[in-house]
């Protein structure tokens, strides 16, 4: 397996949507390829970091204002 072939299956590996056979082939490639191992680790970390840190916060005061405005208009039949 080449690095390009490995990369084409990277998402499937991360999302765990591959067969046991393909997984074994990918793991085989990883044993001898530091480049792909680093790519896999850092891509996983990239996803995790975006999942666990809110990039855009909606402040409580803004939420309250928005809720009040939406609900008021819903009550008036929009």
């Amino acid at each position: 397996m080449t690095c390009t072939e490995f990369l084409a299956l990277l998402d499937e590996l991360i999302d765990d949507t591959i067969s046991a056979e393909t997984r074994a082939q990918l793991q085989d490639h990883l044993k001898g390829c530091e480049h792909c191992e680093v790519t896999l680790n850092t891509t996983r970390k990239t996803i995790e970091i975006y999942r666990s840190h809110e990039v855009y916060e909606l402040p409580a005061s803004v939420r309250e204002r928005l809720h009040a405005a939406i609900v008021a208009r819903c009550k008036n039949g929009c």
């Binding site: 480049h35 990039v55 939420r63 939406i70 819903c74």
Partner: protein, 207 residues
């Protein structure tokens, strides 16, 4: 009344009852849905519009539109994906207004080249965030994701941050499943590459 919505197996999704109550005139049930999803809708709108005021307007308009059209909600998709679809359309409309005369769609700005083999080899994966304050890290994450085309950003946010499935993301954005998959891979790789520029020089322990 709303069609009974079934999520995969036999258990109806909790939103089904809330939608039904809202349709029957219970505004508080709809308020619960707002409480539940406003932050995600704001996040998606902000990622597309890149503008705080627009994103707040999108939250308001998307919920109002959803309320108005609640009787048209078919229940064969999740309420949330239906709501996101409305929010994505509202966000694109706002973007269009700001870039007057320029067509804006979810297909915009997409490079055709496939994800190339990454160049950056430094492994910063264990704990890069420990070297930054929350504010610094948020700024890095924002700057990094802003550099992506919005068609990539929104796929990444729906799939990886919101946790929607590939099928739900495709349905929400009106894209094919292969298109979602290819955008996700390229979004993940581009983000990884861009984050590497920050993290490779500041590995764990180095202040």
């Amino acid at each position: 009344m709303a069609t009974i919505q079934v999520t995969g197996e036999d258990e109806p999704h909790p939103d089904v009852a809330l939608v039904a109550s809202a349709l029957a005139g219970d505004v508080r049930a709809f308020e619960t849905l707002i409480q539940k999803y406003d932050r995600q809708i704001f996040r998606i709108a902000q990622h597309i519009t890149q503008n705080r005021e627009d994103a707040q307007d999108v939250v308001q308009d998307a919920f109002l539109k959803a309320y108005e059209k609640l009787s048209q909600f078919q229940g064969n998709s999740k309420f949330y994906t239906w709501l996101v679809r409305i929010a994505v359309n509202e966000s694109l409309m706002r973007l269009r207004k700001r870039r007057t005369g320029k067509m804006v769609s979810i297909d915009e700005d997409i490079e055709t080249a496939d994800g190339s083999v990454p160049r950056d080899l430094a492994d910063w994966s264990p704990n890069p965030e420990q070297n930054y304050s929350q504010t610094e890290l948020a700024a890095i994450l924002r700057k990094t994701i802003q550099g992506l085309p919005h068609g990539f950003r929104v796929v990444f946010v729906l799939r990886d941050v919101d946790g929607l499935s590939t099928e739900e993301t495709a349905e929400t954005l009106g894209l094919s499943i292969p298109a979602v998959k290819s955008r996700l891979l390229r979004a993940r790789l581009q983000l990884r590459e861009r984050l590497s520029r920050y993290f490779r020089n500041k590995k764990a322990g180095e202040k």
